[in-house]
Amino acid sequence: MAVAERTPFASNRRRLIKDRVARYGVSAGGLMVLAALLLIFGYLLYVVVPIFKSASVEEQAVLTLNDDQVTLLVGSDELGELAYRLLGNGELRYQSTVTTPNRSAGQKLLNQQLPISPVVALARDAKAGELLAIAGSEGQLLLVKAGSSVSYPDNQRVVEPKLHYPLGEQPRQIDSEGQPLNRVAVSTEGGIRIAAWTADHRLLFVRFKPKRNMMTDSVDWVPSTLALGTQFSSVDELRLTPSARYLFVRSGDLVEVWDARDSGQPKLRETVRVAGKGAQVTTLALLSGSSSILVGKSDGTISQWFEVDKKEGGRGFDKIREFKVPAAVVSIDVERDRKGFYVLDANGNLTIFHATAHNQLWQNALHLDAGARMAVKPRANGFVVADGDELKQYKVVNEHPEISWRTLWQEVWYEGYPEPQYVWQSTSGSDSFEPKLSLVPITFGTIKAAFYAMLFGVPIALAGAIYTAYFMTPAMRAWVKPTVEIMEALPTVILGFLAGLWLAPLIEENLPGVAMVLIALPIGILLTAIAWQQLPARIKQSVPEGWEAAVTILPVIFVGWGAFALSPTVENWLFGGDARVYMTNVLGIGFDQRNAMIVGIAMGFAVIPNIFSIAEDAVFSVPRHLTNGSLALGANSWQTLTRVVLLTASPGIFSAVMMGLGRAVGETMIVLMATGNTPVMDWSIFAGMRTLSANIAVEMPESAVNSTHYRVLFLSAFVLFVLTFFFNTLSEFVRQRLRARYSSL
């Protein structure tokens, strides 16, 4: 608006000030719109960005130790406020690692001499990491849980060490012959099981069964010992998964896999060679969930193995992926609830990986001794290292290790899956469940839904727009345009409800009817046109030109009704009475009741008005002199339309389609209600899908704030935002260009 800025008669200062205030106020208010859009963009990004951050590690405290004994093992309690160490003489020492009002970091809290000295071998439980099995030199073994307890005396929070002995405070004799147990492994889930390798080369497997003592109401644990016939004459490592599903026995590069789940004799499943030539195995670790083993080697590679269906039949362990550190692997420690693991190598480097994401999250030279002992804190928010005379404590910020570009957009080989796949499965009932957050299936669903909606909506909307703008009389147009606006205003929740509960069953019962409508409608309209042509001129003239659409309304209704009325007859005649069964059994096409066709129709209905109004506007505003010129040169109106009008208006039509696409991509309620919401990847028109938007609507209310799931849902909202931003901006840009061109014509 070019309006004179200066007002010569305005002498009153206050009025001028008011004017200026209004100007700044309004300008600020106007820019709010831009600010709002930027805020949405920025906030979505702000929530999303942390999932792509790699881990950060920070040294928190270094405590000096004055031990005369070598540290065999370190650990941290559940809360991460205490650290414990097991010394070579069987002493368990607790220290505080944080400074609280009533104690300082490094303060010694408990020195407990365990009844085993010296310690020959020890093992941690793979699931409850603070449960230790400690073996002595005479075949005896002690189970001790190095825990902690929290109490609040005088409203002060105090964390105290707490030891618990599941099998009693005295060691149990595992080997009746009294040989030292050189290697042990323990699992306590669903009963206590011990595996042990004796100095005289026997592999023992002991099950402890609880037996309630009637007199004292205490529980006695009764052992039953089995000897396993291993082929090895020396054993380097034993690993036992929770519930004793597998016992891994490693000797050099070979690993025996035993199945000890059932109560009988454990069975040898297979022997796997886990390292090739040129590298020796240095250590074996169980990944959290214990379906995978990690094999560390002397050339600095770590390989992940889990059971898959073999090509030659049966199931067996196979190498899935490899990780690399700069020097020979010394030890591997795993996070308890996630698939992350920490690797210490011979050069004193520490590297943090995430197994499923196949991602290196952090690496740094900590200059640790090869003899250093390390433990990841149970909540994976830090780790402790006993390195020579020092106990070092590190804080780790590593909130979302499982997400990377690869896990979101590429095929990932999850544990238990036969091959790498795109999977969206965010939650499940199982405890050891790993969320599978691939955006590919739901993005696919979005594209599929939009595609079918456009397939249905674009032809009708464009044809309708062309007719309304170019052929229709103004009188009828004055009725059609508001009707289309009403169509645009219909709440999508109602369209979705009708699609899901009315249309879906209707179409399922009348499949032949749907097919007939598709064929019969165009034919019906053509026949109407021909019949109209044959009518006497008198009747034809009574309906003025530009009312053809009104004439076709009745045939459209009639054809639609007729097709559905005849549907059962046709079904009987062609498909043996049940078209659905015929489709599944004879044609082999799967059929979901709520499928892409329903979504296509319902969402097509929703996008028709969007496309219609923009396209109609574009066609209608083609300058009159162009069409008049064409007609004057002898072209008929159809030729003028196709050769002049549509060509001129084509950017506008493109822009209309883009706008419709933007709407179809983001539509939520219709797809939520008219699809089964299963994240499958199947182009079939008779299969369902799950879209980005419906996925957000379904899962957002249940996701915990700032969890990985929450942030990935924000990411899918961000993807939607960017997609629609792209379509809308492109459409608007094209439209601006077109408007400029029209005004110059």
Partner: protein, 548 residues
């Protein structure tokens, strides 16, 4: 003919067909919703069927015919049902039998071939109850405290039902009004005490004051509770004995009965009256039985309240933005960016607004508000949880472009001669805007607002994240200070449709109600839109005459 094809005329007809298909689809849809939604309230004829079940047992079924489909007999044979060989098509009826506590399903599909006889059951009564849905049966006699009551059955029954309904209403008023108020005060007292404790200023005097206050409230509560129990006892006095379709006598306590009606004895005038009553009940009643029965009043109230709140928020921002874009902004990059922002705000999917509202408004802004002003209630959130204020804000953002576009169109239609005239007479630009332009544009602003309201009333997806619940125990406005509770969750017509239609355990029972709710929502939205369109067209005419 060939020439006719070459002339392109068939294609013109085809494009005409496309537009008529769209029109048929829209009007058909509206008619479908209207028909299904409105017939729900019509008192349907109740039939008594004599039918042979598939296992050969003959039984009697009383109920309304709810739906009818014709299916090929082969399909039925395929699914293992016995149908005579010579039949090609079979009608299948969906019969609503009610009596939910005695049958597995209160809706059943029945094949026409299995029906031996069907007659209009004259004396049958439809008993509307607060629990277990409708009951169909023949009323036999009334019981008062277990003793039969003499006198004319039906008039007596009506008067006793009126008494019970009255008593139940009193009890509900007591429960929601006075008892609700005491509970609210108790909670506030607890919060006040906790607030002092957090400040470190809670001394023994204050503590005993709070104790005394609460003791008084609890004593009041006891009194009211006794009143409530007394009312409920009185309501339990009467019972009705009914013979149901199995031929057994069933005693129905009257305190669960809302209404007894004998549809088969009424003429159409009486039925119309009944229909009107049912419609008004639908609009003003609370929902019952997980929203599958009863009315939608809280949803109507919630929708209107949220939408009005949104309108209050969106109008100033939208109008100011439009004035900026049209009156102040120069032709520069900033303005173009602003326009792109408007287009994109209009095109961003609504669910993205929901996600943004949940993260930004609810967790960030709401969470900060809680930490600042409501620390005593933590860890249970006050504003840091989805609520009506956040819904209104989210939808305000969503409808902002609607108001902007409409207002800008209005501004563009005002001839610039008027502005120039005002400026020439010495008015400042602000004065011109305030005195001349905005008053002239007010119908356009109104149009934008109406369109925004229509859009907001139908929007559901974002609300599912920022404040809607399937059942809100209290309305956002009540008699407890501060009367308007913006932090509360609310019910919404659109969400009601989704929730009842798709999350309800008894879909057949819920479906008619969903149609009725849809019809209500569609009526509101279509009316709003038609109003907006009319105002706009009127406006265009007016300015067209001004220009010449």
């Amino acid at each position: 003919m060939n020439k006719w094809f070459k002339s392109g005329s068939p294609w013109i007809w085809m494009t005409g067909g496309a537009i008529s298909m769209s029109l048929v689809a829209v009007l058909g849809l509206l008619l479908l919703i209207a028909w299904r939604g409105l017939t729900y309230f019509w008192p349907a004829t109740v039939y008594e069927f004599e039918m042979r079940r598939q296992d050969g047992v003959v039984e009697r079924v009383i109920g309304e015919i709810h739906d009818r489909v014709e299916i090929p007999a082969a399909q039925l044979r395929g699914s293992g049902l016995k149908v005579d060989e010579d039949v090609e098509f079979v009608n299948r009826f969906l019969i609503k039998t009610g009596n939910r506590e005695f049958v597995n399903l209160d809706f059943r599909w029945v094949l026409e071939t299995d029906i031996l006889s069907r007659r209009v059951a004259d004396d049958v009564a439809v008993i509307e109850r607060t629990k277990n849905g409708n009951f169909y049966g023949y009323p036999l006699r009334l019981l008062e405290k277990g003793e039969p009551v003499s006198g004319d059955l039906l008039p007596e029954l009506q008067s006793r039902i009126e008494r019970v309904v009255e008593l139940n209403e009193q009890a509900l008023d007591l429960q929601k009004g006075d008892i609700g108020r005491i509970n609210y005060k108790l909670e506030r007292s607890r919060l006040a005490e906790r607030g002092l404790e957090l400040d470190g200023t809670l001394d023994d005097a204050a503590r005993s004051r709070f104790e005394a206050e609460r003791a008084q409230l609890r004593a009041d509560y006891k009194v009211l509770e006794n009143d409530l129990f007394a009312l409920r006892d009185q309501a339990e006095r009467d019972a009705l004995v009914v013979r149901d379709m199995r031929g057994e006598e069933v005693t129905i306590k009257l305190n669960y009965v809302l209404d007894v009606y004998q549809p088969n004895q009424k003429n159409w005038l009486q039925k119309t009256g009944r229909w009107l009553v049912q419609v008004s009940k639908f609009l003003t009643d609370e929902p019952r039985e997980a929203n599958t029965e009863g009315g939608v009043f809280p949803a109507i109230f919630g929708t209107i309240f949220m939408v009005l709140l949104m309108a209050i928020i969106v109008t100033p921002f939208g109008v100011i933005a439009a004035i900026y874009l049209h009156e102040y902004a120069g032709d520069n990059v900033m303005t173009r960016l602003c326009r792109i922002a408007v287009i994109n705000l209009a095109g961003v999917p609504s669910i993205v607004y929901g996600v943004f509202g949940l993260g930004f408004f609810v967790y960030m802004v709401g969470g900060s508000l809680d930490a600042l002003f409501y620390p005593e209630a933590l860890p249970s959130p006050t504003f840091g949880t989805p609520g009506v204020l956040w819904s209104a804000l989210t939808l305000a953002l969503l409808t902002l472009p609607v108001v902007i576009v409409s207002t800008e169109e209005g501004l563009a239609r005002i001839p610039s001669a008027l502005r120039q005239g005002s400026l020439a007479l010495g008015a400042t630009k602000a004065e011109t805007l305030w005195r001349i332009v905005i008053p002239m544009a007010s119908p356009a602003i109104m149009t934008g607002l109406i369109l925004a309201i229509a859009r907001a009333a139908g929007e559901t997806a974002p609300l599912m994240l920022v404040g809607v619940v399937k059942l809100a125990p209290t309305l956002p406005i009540d008699g407890n200070f501060p009367f308007v509770h913006l932090e509360r969750k609310f019910m919404h017509l659109g969400f009601q449709i989704y929730d009842v239609g798709f999350q309800s355990p008894n879909v057949e029972a819920a479906r008619p109600l969903v149609y009725a709710t849809s019809f209500l929502l569609v009526t509101v939205i279509v009316t709003l839109n038609i109003t907006a369109i009319t105002i706009r067209n009127h406006l265009r005419e007016k300015y067209r005459s001004l220009e010449h």
